[in-house]
């Protein structure tokens, strides 16, 4: 039996005389209506193009933390995966876990020791885990510092010192990318 395009029909058991009359013509206007899909397809195509343009294969490496306003920079490069140290005036976090408070960091240590013990230990653990999981790769010693723009260098110095003593010499500062010439990029 050949396949035919479906047509409007009603089962005989349903006694809708008015509708039957309409479906079979009956001298009245047919109830079949063609949907105009052109506008819908146009919209979908535009949406797909926009989303493809803003697609990032690396995914979301950094999540914007609460209370952190990042500074702008023109000479930026793309992010890569590394431990993320969040620094606000109140708290220091490593991958979302609190490792120190701002109050502790702003105090001058009596011994002059700048190391944040918990941050250092966690970073050493992360380094060891990386070496275990990637035995054939060299450890690059990269970490990302996501700091609020109003944080003073005194706090950052201790964070950077702790990272350096844990083996993370290369520090990447998270910034908001700014197009060359001071114009904000379209993605913002």
């Amino acid at each position: 039996m050949p396949i035919e395009a479906p047509k409007a029909h009603l089962y005989h058991s349903i006694g809708l005389e008015v509708a039957k009359g309409k479906l079979h013509g009956g001298g009245r206007k047919a109830t079949n209506a063609a949907l105009n899909l052109v506008a819908y397809i146009d919209m979908m195509t535009m949406l797909v193009i926009f989303l493809l343009m803003s697609f990032s294969a690396s995914g979301e490496i950094l999540f914007v933390q609460k209370n952190i306003t990042l500074p702008d920079a023109q000479n930026w490069s793309d992010l890569e995966r590394a431990p993320v140290i969040g620094v606000t005036k109140d708290v220091v976090t490593l991958d979302g876990r609190q490792v120190a408070t701002g109050e502790e960091l702003m105090k001058d240590s009596a011994t002059g020791d700048m190391k944040i013990t918990e941050l250092h230990d966690e970073l050493v653990t992360a380094k060891n885990n990386y070496k275990l999981l990637h035995p054939s790769e060299d450890f690059k010693g990269v970490c990302i510092i996501q700091s609020d723009k109003t944080v003073e260098f005194k706090m950052l110095r201790k964070v950077m010192f702790s990272a350096a003593t844990a083996g993370y010499q290369n520090v990447n500062f998270a910034v908001r990318p700014k197009a060359k010439g001071g114009v904000a990029p379209a993605a913002e």
């Binding site: 397809i41 920079a73 930026w76 700091s147 003073e152 260098f153 010192f161 520090v171 990447n172």
Partner: protein, 158 residues
């Protein structure tokens, strides 16, 4: 759910040339793509500014003696103090703002006089805000000093 294409044929005893495009697979594909792209979309565009922690005499300084002219930008409360070798150039603030334009000019001059030099140090006092440091490092990278070190002003040895 289809679109007809009228090719102008009126029949006349022949098979009509009207064709109907089946748009269902196309709409299915578009819907799937939109759903996938919406789920994986990255709405916050963030980037990085690379810096190192290299003070005076620390590991990594294996440059030959003729290239060991240090370029240091000291950031303090009064403004910048740019040090190229033994020469110091203070760049005071413009009102309450740091004079990044003049810093860029001085860094460009330093690059012209030392074209092989790619590293510069940004030395900061404790009270300097992170935003100022990032702008300073950004200015230095703009002046073609891509290897930036961020250090304490005490470690700069000035």
């Amino acid at each position: 759910m289809s679109v007809s294409v009228d090719t102008g044929g009126k029949g006349g005893g022949k098979k009509p040339l009207n064709a109907e495009l089946n748009l269902v697979p196309y709409i299915d594909l578009l819907t799937c793509m939109v759903a996938f792209l919406l789920i994986t979309a990255v709405w916050t565009q963030l980037a990085r500014l690379q810096a190192q922690q290299k003070g005076q005499g620390q590991a990594g300084e294996e440059t030959p003696p003729e290239l060991q002219v240090k370029i240091v930008v000291l950031v303090n409360q009064e403004g910048f103090n740019m040090v190229v070798g033994q020469d110091q150039t203070p760049i005071p603030k413009k009102g309450s703002d740091y004079d990044f334009e003049r810093l860029a000019t001085e860094l460009k001059k330093a690059k012209e006089s030392h074209p092989d030099k790619n590293d510069a140090q940004v030395a900061s006092e404790d009270t300097i805000k992170f935003d100022t440091l990032v702008r300073t490092m950004d200015t230095a990278i703009q002046a073609r000093f891509p290897d930036i070190s961020l250090i304490d002003s005490g470690a700069a040895g000035i």
